[in-house]
Amino acid sequence: MEWLFNIWEFFVSIWDNFYYSVIYDRRYEFILEGLFNTVIIALFAVILGIVIGVCVALVRNYHDKTNKLKILDKIAKLYVNIIRGTPVILQLMIIYYVIFKSVDINIVIVGILAFGINSGAYVSEIIRAGINSIDAGQMEAGYSLGFTYSKVMRYILMPQAIKNILPALGNEFITLLKETSVGAYIGIIELTKASDIIASRTYDYFFPLIIIALIYLVMTLGLSKLVNMMEVKLNNDRD
């Protein structure tokens, strides 16, 4: 009968691990706080990234097409090169330890800014590629009907480009969601940091890590499902 007892012991110890990792001393609150911060940072960084990305892509496209806005175009290129050429963790530290060194600012906002600025560079390249993938004749047809550049973009190119862009954009957002874990490095209590805090009290990494892994998975799978649904909808709307 001893083997039965061993199995019993095994399950009890797993329960103990779970209890001390999650329930004891309301440790689940760390995970909830981490989840909240991760979602907030990812959500607002995505919005910021789209705003920056669209602006940068339009500046560069307008410059390519009309040869105007030379200085803005140079700045946009520099921005994209710097962001793509340095690690996100470095950008995060520069923004927190250098730019906001002597400013009292909520660290979650620092995270939003850093990840938003980072994502903007990648989003701008995705949008630029999307616009360039549309046949030049579409733009000429728009011009020949008397549309201005901005109206051609808004009514003719962007609605077509968005369909080509969507998969890459979804990919970028999934990457961004996971990358917020880097925020732990400057002490943002997001999911990864939360699991680290718990583990540092229990000296047991199993449940904290497995639980947040599952949470990340559920979120990214949900996100890719959402993007798929939007793709299907866009494809049904047209042709």
Binding site: G137, E140, S144, L145, Q160
Partner: protein, 241 residues
Amino acid sequence: MIEIKNLYKDFGKKKVLKGIDLTINKGDKIAIIGPSGCGKSTLLRCINMLEKPTKGEVIFNGINLCDKDVELNKIRQKMGMVFQQFNLFSHLSVIDNITLAPIKLGLMSKSKAEKEALRLLKLIDLSDKKNEFPNNLSGGQKQRVAIVRSLILNPDIILFDEPTSALDPEMVKEVTEVMKKIADDGMTMVVVSHEMSFVKEFASRVLFMDDGNIIEQGSSNDIFKHPKSERLKEFLSKIGN
């Protein structure tokens, strides 16, 4: 209506137009013929400034389009263009393709634009396709829609850049028929075309271009029956005229 003076266009080192002078009057039906690469399409695209001329003037209703502060978008509303590759907006249905410009440019209300579009669709015999997307149309149908799309803005002139060159032979006629109909209604038209039988029937004036210059111009009778220059004679014999 349009006066082109001493027009030059270079693409880098390549000189495509070498001093074109041309006057287009209201009601003219001008056909431009000539070997490929002679600058026909470039000339047409310089008229509505899709290509910026290197030198020279294009004067439309008294306005020099080469001036920097000209509002080209306003000018282009009065200057339709039909492309070889149709360039219908692939994300919009046939009727939305036609009504997009008048509605978004604030020239017509939505209901008026749609009414007008339906009238024009009837004219080109495509009323039953109004909700189709361009991908589901044949080349000839696409081009007819493209013609109507520029027609709805009630332009002073329509430029046709090889409108039948991308079509299967059996579809050429349905497009040229529509063009003749528009011509009969008095529209000023400039057509770059390789479709000689159409040119002969349609044009009030034929321009023969070669190597960036207008070599010869006249009625279709002059050009096809009594060519003067050696280059035109050679061109006509090559195309089996």
